[in-house]
């Protein structure tokens, strides 16, 4: 087995978390200010495919709603994610997929930080720094090969 790849990841049940009828009514009301919350962010990222498995980030427990913090007023979103193994070679790519998905989906007033769950990766600090460097991210997204891989992970997500 190639180091840094998890051959048999543990799978987890998908969440059946839903909004209350009241919340749904507010969401549907075009005049109500649509506050972004952690469930909304989770809905956006739960279906992203893992680059090396036919599973979603939710099924692999890489993305979890409890790892998402949203301060709608302050315009800040923090998404933490947990690679399946602490030497996961795909962690940066997964983080990039999360960033691109949120970049394409959220209004620009929201500032997004993508971080590894504390202690979940051997290179946590280096990966966090890279994922939150806007210039590196912008340059990466002008690389057609890399963008193709990211788009593949985001397909149907």
């Amino acid at each position: 087995m190639q180091e840094g790849l998890n051959a048999s990841p543990e799978l987890h049940a998908e969440s059946d978390e839903q909004r209350s009828a009241n919340e749904c009514a507010t969401e549907a009301d075009p005049n109500a200010r649509d506050r972004i919350d952690s469930l909304e962010i989770f809905e956006l990222i739960r279906g992203i495919k893992d680059p090396e498995h036919p599973h979603t980030l939710e099924q692999l427990n890489v993305a979890q709603r409890r790892l998402i913090d949203v301060d709608d007023e302050g315009g800040r979103v923090v998404v933490r994610f947990t690679p399946t193994i602490p030497h996961c070679s795909m962690a940066t790519l997964i983080g990039l997929c999360l960033r691109v998905k949120l970049l394409r989906s959220l209004p620009p007033r929201l500032k997004v930080d993508i971080l590894i769950s504390p202690g979940a990766h051997a290179s946590e600090e280096a990966i966090n720094k890279q994922l939150n460097d806007k210039e590196r991210v912008a340059a990466a997204l002008e690389n057609d090969n890399l963008l193709g891989v990211v788009n593949q992970c985001l397909l149907n997500a």
């Binding site: 620009p108 500032k111 912008a138």
Partner: protein
Amino acid sequence: MEPSQQLVQVATLQGHDEPRVWHVAWSPSGHTLASCAADRAIRLWAEDGDRAWACVAILTDGHQRTVRRVSWAPCGSLLASCSFDGTAMIWRCEDGVFDCLASLEGHDNEVKAVAWSPSGSFVATCGRDKSVWVWEAEDEAYEVAAVLHSHGADVKDIVWHPTDDVLASASYDDSLKIITQDGDDWRCAATLLGHASTVWGLAFSADGAHIVSCSDDRSVVLWAGGPADAAPAAAAAPAAPAPAPYSYAQVASLPEVHSRPIYAIDWEKGGARMIATGGGDDAVCAIEATLPEPGSAKPASLRLVARVAGAHRGDVNSVAVAPAERGDGLLASAGDDGVIRLWRRA
């Protein structure tokens, strides 16, 4: 203490196709502002007869990817640009037409900054490949004078000393470096440590005796120094390695200037000597440096004097104070909202 000054917006320049203007640079006369963006275009802006700002030139097919920075030659008719496409290019800009004079090729990938030396003799570039290149300009030909691999990661920005052929660079490795000419060679003379994360930008004071830098760590640091007096040390310890001919040390810092990374900093060379910053919190700030008289024991200090929250609807990527020749200290800023804004002090 609450900021005591105000910045009042006087113009909004719109035209770049895609959101995200990366950089703005004033021409030496201050009459023209150059901008570059993710749309791969370079634009020139100037005031028309009614003193209204308008785009007077567009170059759309110069680079294959994002144009990251532009820099004017001291003569004011040549412009250098650098791009994520791995090249830097030299343009003659006359009557709204860009004429390509040279393509500087050598970096492995993204070129993140380009800067023309005040003498006009050199162009410096730096990039993702961790290197700094010095190109010598002679009769419109550009030869590689040096390639330096002093930094441990991307070199984010590079600026020239206002009078000497000395460079300062800022990096993802959290450090600044001072690069000096040593005969025909160029070498790293000093490493400046003090930031806790990526250093995004830096600027010299008008006399070159100080540098300010801004960082992902949300702080602004003031450094003081210059050419070291090498003679006494060499006499005292002849066996010791020669002291760095140029060095700077931290003399003040201002934490939490912005609540997100600070992407840009500039230091006005004339007038009030204002320091301007722009950050990922959408704000533009003005900072005043109090510098001690030579021989004085009073420490140097930095003080926030103005803050415009929501200066842009998105990160502020660039700030540039108009050169003294313009006379009004106009401040230009550019951001992720695709817009360039001009500000005057009140």
